[in-house]
Structure formats: structure tokens, C-alpha cells
């Protein structure tokens, strides 16, 4: 058993639990700050310190194992405004990010955001890319962002990073990425009825037969 301090109160919890499980073990019922439990949804942003270590760590509660003496606080929500825009009205030019999120210009290059990111993204580099208008680079650097908001909570320049990332990825997807040709081809195929017979056959199968077919399916390499 280990001792952890959750929101300032000490609890004995078994070793090997994630922070999230340890909180539930301690009696918390999580109605906020908990979603997928798999490291994807970003709902479980948490900050903690370890005994004898000045650093303030930031991570996902569902992905981080408790350590003895850990001081834990959850940050289930980040207060930050998402700019109001219609994607179809925003041109994918450099100044788009800065126009909607001018506070990007406040970055002092302290790199605190990078150190706080549980996804280990190069967050500061993404801010810098956003500042110089490189939408594609921002989208690439932040592809794995789970919108946990930890960077935004730690940033001395008070930037709401993840909203900017989302805009950059949307702009990139809508305007800067080449259209997938094979998608259009496949849609045309579907519309021309090329798969109708096969679909009808599947629809006619019983549950067992369907399960067998599923097990035996071709899996793309």
C-alpha cells in the first residue's frame, strides 16, 4: 500500500493503480474529469508533485501510475474560450490563426507547455509555427493532441493552445490536404451498385454465420 494525497487529503491505496483508479479506490465517484479511460479523450488532466521534487508534473490520470507520497489535484476543465468561426469563411492563410487567437503573440518561449504535455508533443514549437503562420506545421505537430488543456493551464502567456491546434487541423484538413482521389472513386462505385449484392448477402446472414464471416475477414496489412 502507498500513501497519496488527493486534493490535500491523505489516502492509503494499493500499488500499481492509475491515479484515476486510486481516486476511485479512495472513494471518489468521478462524474467529471473521466471519459475514455484509455488515454484518448483528454478529460482526465491532472497535476501532481512528488516528495522531495520541486517540479509540478502534468499528466493524464488514466495513464499515470500512483507513486508513494504523490500530491494530486485534478483539473477536469480548462477555462478557455474557443473562437467563434465558420470554417468555410476562414481562409487557410498564416494570419488566420493569429486573427482568431491574437494572444499567440504573447508566447515568451519558456517551453513550459512542452514540459506539461502528456502526449509529449513539441507544444512550444507548434505555438511558434502558429505565430509565423505555418498552419500545416501546426497541424502536424499537434496531430496527437487530446485537448487535455494542461499546456493552457501552465502557460504564463495565457494562450489556449488546444483551440488553436483544432483550428489549424481543421484548416489543414479542409484546404491544405490534397483530396483523396480513391475516396471519390469508391463513393462512385458504391453509388453505381457494385456492392449491392454483397451487402444483401450479409444482411441475409444469421448471427452465427455473420460472426464466422467476421472472423474470417481479410484484414488490410
Amino acid at each position: 500500500m502507498l500513501t497519496v494525497y488527493i486534493m490535500g487529503k491523505g489516502y492509503r491505496v494499493p500499488e500499481g493503480l492509475t491515479i484515476m483508479k486510486a481516486m476511485e479506490y479512495a472513494g471518489y465517484r468521478l462524474v467529471r474529469g473521466c471519459g475514455c479511460r484509455g488515454g484518448y479523450c483528454g478529460a482526465c488532466a491532472t497535476v501532481y508533485r512528488l516528495p522531495g521534487d520541486y517540479r509540478l508534473y502534468a499528466d493524464l490520470a488514466c495513464q499515470t501510475t500512483v507513486q508513494d507520497g504523490m500530491y494530486i489535484a485534478q483539473l477536469p476543465s480548462t477555462p478557455a474560450e474557443r473562437a467563434d468561426y465558420q470554417l468555410s469563411q476562414v481562409a487557410p492563410r498564416g494570419e488566420a490563426l493569429l486573427a482568431l487567437y491574437p494572444e499567440l503573440a504573447r508566447c515568451v518561449a519558456c517551453n513550459t507547455c512542452t514540459r506539461s504535455c502528456p502526449q509529449k508533443l513539441e507544444v512550444m514549437d507548434a505555438v511558434q509555427a502558429a505565430l509565423r503562420g505555418d498552419i500545416r506545421q501546426v497541424a502536424e505537430l499537434t496531430f496527437d493532441c487530446v485537448q487535455c488543456g494542461l499546456c493552457a493551464m501552465r502557460c504564463p502567456a495565457e494562450i489556449a493552445h488546444y483551440h488553436v491546434w483544432q483550428l489549424a487541423r481543421r484548416l489543414c484538413g479542409a484546404y491544405l490536404t490534397p483530396r483523396a482521389q480513391h475516396l471519390a472513386r469508391r463513393v462512385a462505385e458504391v453509388e453505381s451498385g457494385a456492392f449491392d449484392a454483397e451487402l444483401d448477402r450479409l444482411m441475409g446472414m444469421g448471427k452465427d454465420e455473420l460472426a464466422k464471416a467476421y472472423q474470417a475477414r481479410d484484414i488490410e496489412p
Binding site: 494570419e95 515568451v108 503562420g133
Partner: protein, 287 residues
């Protein structure tokens, strides 16, 4: 080719990308290859004038560390504001080892900055590394007949210890323009401020400054203003009044590229002016 570590700054990747392209082409013609820092961040554009604001030095010093990490001890800027902030921060930490060690301790994710990186501006490079005479000898399309007003603005010349030249009577810009064959239009506003960042919250103040600067350049015979500062460039164009002389504004790198026969990426107004003025241009057009 002489390899020169190069810090672009945000504007060179966006608003002033034509300046960057032209300067790169021009410097290549002079035997210098600009090697962009593999990673860099915004310089902060304005140097902090407060004593308790160490955080504002982190950005500039991080860039100096990037230069150090390349194994180099100098870095070139094209932008006058980047030049000012980087050079001032370099001087600040050189003079204050105690605060440098605090900045280093804060940036635990980087190598310590050991000091000694020199920050150069394009004008200084042309004077000290290329040399005026050498520069003049490489000119293939002299800017003969073009009356250019060298607009230094603030950060190239102030404060005194950081400027590329004497803040009272600078000459480096003039000598470079002369080397390119241009006629220099001396004007009293050449080191006076355009209003800089006031353009955001108080555009009317900037409009007044720009009106005076442009009028003075025009009254002194200029038909073109030359700058190396993207903020001056923005203010001179976006904040100029609707009436009075409308002088085209070009970046130093663009005139340089033009004169050296490289791709100058000039703005249309300036290009038309140069085309219409210089004899070499007429020849080049016929080809």
C-alpha cells in the same frame, strides 16, 4: 560559399517573405549561404526595459543556444527588430553572469548558454564581411537614378552600444545604397520612430508619424523608401495617409538582389519605379 547561421524571425516567414527570398538570393550572389537555425522561436520583437522581467530574455537566449548548438558563434538577422532584441539580450547576459545562470537553470531542457554568440544584421554583414567595394564590384544592375531614402528606424541604431552604427550620424545604410548605384536621399527623419507597436492600439499616432516621415523623404528628393524592419514597412504602407506623396517602400534585401541581378521579389510599385528609372533595367527587359 561562406556559411552564415541565420535567424529568420516570424515576419520573414510571413509578411516579409519576399525580403527573405530576395536577401537569400542576393547573399548567394555574394558567396554567402544562409543556414537557417534548425529550430528557433520568436525573439519577442521589443526588448524588455524592466529589471524584474527575466522571462522576457528566455526567448532570445534560447535562440542563442540554438546557434551555440550548431557549433557557431555568430548569427545573422535580416529584421531590424530581431537584431535589436537578440543583440541586446546577448549583451545583457554577457554583462550579468548571475542572471544568465538563473536563465540557464530555468531552461533545464537546453544546454547552458555559455555566451559569446555575436548577432549581426545584414547591413553590418555587408559592411564588415562583404565590404562596400567588393559589394560595388558585384553589382550588375546598378540602381542608377533611383533616389532611395535609407530609413533606419529605431532598433538598428538605438541604444548606442547595440546599434549597427552611430545613432546620431549613421552611414552604413547610405554607403550600401551607394555601392548599389543608387542616389541617396538624405532626410532628417531617417532614425526617427514610426510609432512601432502603437500601430495596434493607437493607429492614429502612427499615422501622424508616417505622414511626417514620408513627407520628409519626399521633400528631400526621395522616390523610394528603403527599410529592413517589417514593422516600419507595415506602418509606412498601412498607416500612410490617403493624401500627400505616396513613396513606394522596399526592403534592403530587395534592392540588394535587384542590383546583384538576383530575383528581387520587389513590390509592384517599387519594381515599376526601378524599371522606369534605371538604364540597366531597360536593357534587362529587352533580353
Amino acid at each position: 560559399m561562406k556559411r552564415i547561421p541565420y535567424f529568420p524571425g516570424c515576419a520573414m516567414k510571413d509578411q516579409a517573405r519576399d525580403y527573405e527570398r530576395a536577401a537569400q538570393a542576393a547573399l548567394a550572389a555574394l558567396g554567402c549561404e544562409l543556414v537557417e537555425l534548425p529550430r528557433w522561436n520568436c525573439c519577442g520583437t521589443v526588448y524588455s526595459l524592466a529589471n524584474d522581467d527575466l522571462m522576457r530574455h528566455v526567448g532570445p537566449v534560447r535562440n542563442l543556444i540554438r546557434v551555440q548548438d550548431m557549433g557557431e558563434d555568430r548569427v545573422l538577422t535580416l529584421c531590424a527588430m530581431c537584431y535589436g532584441t537578440l543583440r541586446r539580450s546577448a549583451r545583457f547576459v554577457a554583462a550579468d553572469p548571475e542572471r544568465l545562470s538563473r536563465i540557464n537553470a530555468f531552461m533545464s531542457d537546453e544546454h547552458d548558454y555559455r555566451g559569446g554568440v555575436e548577432v549581426l544584421h545584414l547591413l553590418g554583414l555587408l559592411r564588415d564581411v562583404v565590404g562596400y567595394e567588393n559589394l560595388a564590384s558585384k553589382v550588375v544592375r546598378p540602381l542608377t537614378g533611383v533616389r532611395a531614402a535609407p530609413y533606419y528606424g529605431c532598433t538598428l541604431v538605438r541604444p548606442r552600444e547595440v546599434g549597427v552604427d552611430n545613432p546620431d550620424q549613421p552611414e552604413v545604410f547610405e554607403r550600401v545604397l551607394s555601392a548599389l548605384g543608387a542616389e541617396v536621399a538624405e532626410f532628417p527623419y531617417k532614425v526617427e520612430c514610426c510609432g512601432a507597436y502603437l500601430t495596434v492600439g493607437a493607429p492614429a499616432i502612427v499615422a501622424g508619424r508616417v505622414r511626417d516621415i514620408v513627407a520628409s523623404a519626399a521633400a528631400n528628393g526621395a522616390d523610394l523608401i528603403v527599410t529592413s524592419c517589417p514593422l516600419c514597412q507595415f506602418n509606412l504602407e498601412a498607416r500612410r495617409p490617403g493624401i500627400g506623396p505616396r513613396l513606394p517602400v522596399a526592403y534592403l534585401g530587395q534592392l540588394l538582389a535587384w542590383a546583384l541581378g538576383a530575383d528581387a521579389c520587389l513590390p509592384p510599385e517599387a519594381e515599376a519605379l526601378i524599371q522606369g528609372t534605371t538604364p540597366a533595367a531597360a536593357g534587362a527587359q529587352q533580353r
